[in-house]
């Protein structure tokens, strides 16, 4: 009798665990592809209303302390700090502040300088409104074996993947992908293949165990004034025209695909059954797709659309943002300061559905997970901003209703003498404590 009760209890427990397992699988997997649509899939998602935008900002000589800084901007319309600068932390000096990214637990914000190869790690968990600088990596070049220009910061489990731009031998485009632990300790360097030496972005599709990397140019080029560079035909040859397909787990290149004209930002489709990624080619103004071929699992690169009129190129297509449902792609062109929105429901035939001028120049675009809010910043590189047109510097916030962008607020970084705003990442009150005011929309969701 006792044995029967135990058996029944065990059966009951096993069935309960099975149900929990199934639900757990569903929820955990749904959270796997996550965050504000273009972040690492290895990061918990921030759903609902973001409270802060962390803007990595280039310092400008004569503007305030002149240093690069992380600026927190209030982004929740239900809060009194909405549309206002909440906090600012200078790192001291100008390093060509560029990109940044959050760790896999969203506790830290890593930002890098393309000129000095300095990396700064901010704690954004302890006080989401006030990021705190907790570590500086000032030996990146030495530790990595000569890599220069840490560009991307892409969360992996327990690590940060850092696709870079250059090297310390000739400051050209030959470069590598560097990995650090979340604690800021060097792990390894993987050099780009000889036939495709340039670097820029690196994005992983865990479902396929494939990583794509794209290609820009080296320190010698990206630190030159834009007009001077574009007038130097020889220097203009030193841009990448390749996208590399990698076996991610083994960190080994499998294919080199040709995508002419500096293919930059890579966005894998978020739905696992969509086995493709979008990439914009900056110099040619073309939108490309990289598609997995079902017959053999290899990939092909296909042009899927134009970005702006042919006769106006190069407009410098600089950033893209894909909606969570894989149907809508925002594309920023720096030179005309416009965003173009594409219907990419048919991924091989991108169809422009909207266009809006954001400012005299525009660079980064980030959207909320629900696609209702879209943010833009203006700065590309210190020596590339404001050449041939006004040098507006701003963060602008819009609502997107599926048909048009409606401006909600703008912060003039020039008028406030803050700097040149570049990459944006989102933060939320209570994300790391579970404590969130009940009246505020958008309770934390990911576990």
């Amino acid at each position: 009798m006792h044995a029967t009760r135990r058996l029944n209890a065990l059966r009951s427990e096993t069935l309960g665990r099975l149900a929990a397992l199934v639900l757990g699988l569903l929820v955990a997997a749904a959270a796997a592809h996550a965050d504000e649509t273009c972040q690492s899939p290895y990061m918990p998602k921030l759903s609902g209303q973001e409270d802060y935008i962390y803007v990595w900002t280039l310092g400008v000589e004569g503007w305030g302390d002149g240093s690069d800084k992380v600026v927190s901007v209030g982004a929740n319309p239900a809060r009194p700090d909405y549309g206002k600068i909440v906090h600012s932390v200078s790192v001291g000096g100008r390093h060509e502040a560029h990109h940044g990214g959050l760790t896999d637990d969203r506790r830290h914000y890593w930002v890098g300088g393309l000129d000095t190869s300095q990396i700064y790690i901010f704690d954004i968990a302890t006080d989401p409104a006030r990021p705190k600088l907790v570590k500086t990596i000032d030996d990146f070049v030495e530790k990595s074996g000569g890599v220069v220009g840490p560009h991307g910061f892409y969360a992996l489990p327990g690590r940060m993947l850092i696709p870079s731009l250059s090297n310390d031998v000739d400051k050209g485009g030959k470069t590598a992908i560097v990995e650090y632990s979340n604690e800021g300790e060097y792990v390894r360097t993987t050099w780009m293949p000889e036939e495709a030496p340039y670097g820029y972005d690196a994005r992983v599709n865990a479902h396929l165990n494939r990583m794509l990397t794209s290609s820009f140019t080296g320190h010698a080029n990206y630190m030159r004034p834009l007009a001077e560079l574009m007038g130097d035909a020889e220097a203009m040859k030193n841009f990448g025209n390749e996208v590399v397909v990698w076996d991610f787990h083994a960190r080994k290149p499998l294919q080199v695909l040709t995508v002419p004209g500096a293919p930059l930002e890579i966005r894998w489709a978020l739905n696992p059954i969509h086995e493709y990624a979008f990439i914009e080619a900056a110099l040619t103004g073309e939108l490309w797709g990289v598609f997995r071929k079902p017959e053999d699992g290899t990939f092909e690169a296909v042009k899927v659309g134009d970005i702006g009129p042919r006769e106006e190129q190069p407009l410098l297509a600089v950033d893209i943002s894909l909606s969570a449902d894989d149907t809508t792609l925002f594309v920023d062109t720096f030179m005309d300061g416009k965003v173009r929105v594409y219907d990419v429901s048919d991924p091989r035939n991108a169809r422009q559905i909207y266009e809006k001028k954001i400012g005299s120049q525009v660079n980064m675009v980030s959207q909320s997970w629900d696609g209702k809010r879209v943010y833009f910043t203006s700065s590309l590189l210190a020596n590339w901003d404001g050449t041939g047109h006004d040098d507006e510097q701003f963060l602008k916030a819009y609502d997107w209703n599926g048909k048009e962008l409606i401006e909600r607020f703008a912060i003039d970084f020039r008028e406030k003498k803050i700097g040149r705003p570049h990459i944006m990442r989102f933060g939320q009150i209570g994300f790391h404590t579970g404590e969130r005011p009940a009246a505020e929309e958008g309770a934390v969701a990911a576990r």
Binding site: A30, Y42, M43, G158, E185, H207
Partner: protein, 230 residues
Amino acid sequence: MKALTATIAIAIGIGVGAGLCLAVAARAHEAHRHGGTGPPPRFEAPAPGSYVLPPIARIEEHVLLDSKGEAASLPGLGEGAVAFVSFVYLSCGEACPLATASLADLDGRIAGDEATAGRVELVTVSFDPERDTPEAMARLRAGLHPKGRWRFLTAESTDAVAPVLRDFGQDAVLLRGPDGDFTGELRHVLKVFLLDDQGRVRNVYSTGFLDPRLLLNDAKTLLMEPPPGS
């Protein structure tokens, strides 16, 4: 197998709005794969020894409690052994069951492969020791029927497990409701850690990486390495 598939289908049917059905079904398909019972994966795991797993961090020795309530060291690995360490809490309804299911799959693969049998250990550690007593961990162990060495550890208290979590870099936060009371849930990112016999973390896996084939080949890759100093 059929029951699991049917249960997933039912869960999708009753739990998901129409607009999200396709995406969730696809992710369920992916999750099902990670559970080890689904259709063929979309890639072949790279062969053991064809790649390297550089050290990421080093873990200090910690003393916890095993499922008998006795002191147990972590990592505590013998020479030439490797371990997968997973942090869970038993009332977790989301990521933890995925981690445990993946380890259960891996347990069978390890036991059935002469290259790994007896040389690869699994360790499940609770980060909710106040509720996950040794007795509770023992019940979990009994329900899983491990084929190989699989330890289930907890601690005397939340304070006792905190240094372990810090050392591994495993986040875990008690979620509190608007009234400030503990909701019974913890926020954490699902992570499984691969350790070598020197206590070094050689890989970290989260939802997207938690493929038992990759884990098995990673363990084999470490076991193929020459001993230190050779």
